[in-house]
Symmetry: C2
């Protein structure tokens, strides 16, 4: 089914916000088997919005509009869509009662302007909004579907997942089944070379690679026309790729690197602590974004100065003077010092030069040491990352999580 | 001048990447005085691209296309634009030599497919690409301007800033001068109410507010038609707003909250350390993303467990048992304990319930205590944030930076 996504809002046209809704909807609609041919963005103006809808109706069969469902005079998506397709707006008393309740609960009188949010096009499906005031609308007429969703991404995503997916489920002739295999530590061309025989063998399967900050994702996807169980064949391809790429693969189910580490620690009932220098807390911060992390995480120490490394991690003054803060020796003493407190099973440390200044001929920007110590093992690896400060910190955090993952996966 | 931005690339339509180019160009073009009326995205298909260009030419005077300038058969923006406006493509030998050199420098033979990147529409201005292979194109005909830029954001931004801005500079009848005033701690409607007299007084000035995670930005902007010095009048309006909003304002020059704190500490030659519980390292991580931060930052302790609060911050066992980890008393002892190491001038602590679980009737999810201690002062504030874990952590980090800012700004 040919599809267009129309975003309504002057704030997008003046560049105040990025259009994350179109990305989200494109990804979801593609999976559901819809052929997204166009994105359009128009401002809060009735004339250009009407022209855009009319032109879109001449090109596609499914139009999803986001934005312009608010209570102000600027918000006119529902009004313009209804007028363009010749439907009148009628008051939905249930929706009005729900909006009224939102204000009652806050002890605020409902502004009169909010009443218009309860107006809906005749003979349309009203999609309730459980987390905001504006309801969504689903209209099907003359073999064309028009869907209206609110602009705020949280509301839009919630409503798309809850209401729109079930309504669209039988409308496409096929679906896309896909499997994402996430790798770290291997370059894109090397990866493609290693799996080229698998790619060539499966001509009805699409293999796409996406690179970001040193991670390469492989998306394996194929169209399903009926109820055939394609999951199994994708899993077989996944297993073949896994045989070839081994430890480079950290996830075959879309889990992030930190989530994989969290699960491994949880399953093995192990606790971890971090000692961070150049990553400045990013490892701990990424880890603690996950709910329930206190099961496996106890302490993170950001020891940014030499004094701090000495006082909190017991790094030897002599080590710091002889080898420097960015060295294998210091990294190891950081991890050992953290472990010596006896509170965790694994201690991981990171020290390096995130830049842009502070590099030297022998210790350039991007040089990072990562050490992992337990009561049984203690090792340290050297990394040389490229890029700006942000990229280096991100890659160092990723590498740290990856060290833990590989260690735990290979733990007897 | 009416303007449309057309993004070319199937990867945008299937949601693989977000359209950051349109945001960047919209922001820049709006500042330069162009009226961006539409964004369109089309795939790598000649038919839809041609139709989109023709429709765009009927609506606007300036079209900027990004993407589809690569060497592969999929890349057809230049070919389709030229055919649509009736121009033939001719070989630019200078561009060809430059592309050839890129491959020579890498000791790789240039693939034949790259030759097509040196083809340019007749009587067009060629915009050289210093950081990639694809040149950009500027064509002006029949009072319409069409600009082609490569899709990779880095190349596109570089070429827009270097070549396109000078070429467009005299094309708009006005420019937009603007000033962004950033606030925290005040709601949008309350803010708008407080500055309503200023808004009403300046009818030729546009006031727009943008809300994100508890921060409200005010953008004050106005059109400049000649060379009048509008900066001074915007500064005067900014000062009037500052008189009314006072401490709520943390920046009038686009600096982030953490940057403002960094600068204040740097100017006062003070060092800070953080003790984080529910923010899990986010405060330290945001702080250490800024280069040079070691001037003012020494240590960050993420004490996620009671044990950790006791061992690293000397929080009293009795305090933890009697008042709990999330309490004013624990927050204060965390900051005091950190300060007692004698290494920094200011210690800041955060403890709270980020959720989604862990809340109780008396201590609900979102309850956060922030304490700031120096050798002279020690205080603690209670916050009650709404939202999911991510939002609560972000708001708690913001509030922490804001506590430091307000303290330092009012320090004698």
């Amino acid at each position: 089914m040919k599809t267009e996504i129309i975003s309504v809002g002057t704030e997008l046209l003046i560049g105040d916000i990025i259009n994350s809704n179109s990305k989200f909807l494109s990804e979801k609609l593609t999976e559901l088997g819809f052929d997204v041919l166009f994105h359009s963005t128009v401002g809060d103006r009735a004339d250009t919005l009407r022209d855009t809808i009319l032109y879109s109706l001449s090109k596609v069969d499914l139009i999803i509009l986001t934005g312009g469902l608010g209570p102000t005079a600027d918000d006119l998506t529902k009004e313009v869509v209804s007028a363009t397709i010749g439907k009148s707006l009628i008051l939905d008393t249930q929706i009005l009662a729900r909006i009224q309740k939102i204000f009652d609960d806050k002890n605020i009188p409902m502004p009169e302007s909010n009443i218009k949010q309860a107006l809906v096009p005749e003979s349309s499906v009203v999609l309730d909004n459980d987390i905001g005031t504006a309801p969504g609308i689903f209209v099907e007429e003359n073999n064309k579907i028009i869907i209206l969703l609110p602009g705020p991404p949280k509301e839009m995503r919630y409503m798309f997942n809850k209401y729109v997916i079930p309504l669209l489920n039988n409308k496409s002739k096929y679906k896309i089944a896909s499997k994402v295999i996430k790798t770290i530590g291997i370059g894109e061309s090397s990866l493609e070379y290693q799996i080229k025989d698998i790619i060539n063998k499966h001509t009805n399967v699409n293999f796409a690679t996406y690179v970001k900050d040193g991670q390469v994702d492989i998306r394996v996807s194929t169209k399903i026309h009926g109820h055939e169980n394609i999951k199994k064949s994708l899993d077989i391809i996944g297993a073949q790729i896994q045989d070839l790429l081994g430890d480079y693969i950290f996830s075959t189910n879309s889990d992030s690197l930190e989530m994989v580490v969290f699960n491994l620690l949880n399953n093995k009932k192990l606790k971890i602590a971090f000692a961070e220098s150049c990553t400045g807390g990013q490892i701990s911060s990424r880890f603690t974004k996950m709910p329930g992390i206190s099961q496996v995480f106890d302490t993170g120490l950001i020891t940014y100065s030499n004094d701090s490394k000495r006082d909190y991690l017991h790094v030897n003054e002599i080590t710091l003077n002889k080898y420097g803060a960015v060295s294998q020796e210091t990294a190891k003493e950081m991890a050992k010092g953290l472990l010596s407190e006896g509170k965790v099973d694994i201690a991981l440390s990171v020290t390096g030069i995130a830049g842009p200044t502070g590099g030297t001929q022998y210790k350039p920007v991007g040089l990072v040491y990562i050490s992992l110590c337990t009561t049984k093992d203690c090792f340290c690896k050297e990394y040389n990352f490229n890029g700006d400060r942000e990229t280096i910190q991100k890659q160092a955090s990723d590498a740290a999580f990856n060290e833990i993952r590989v260690y735990l996966e290979n733990l007897k």
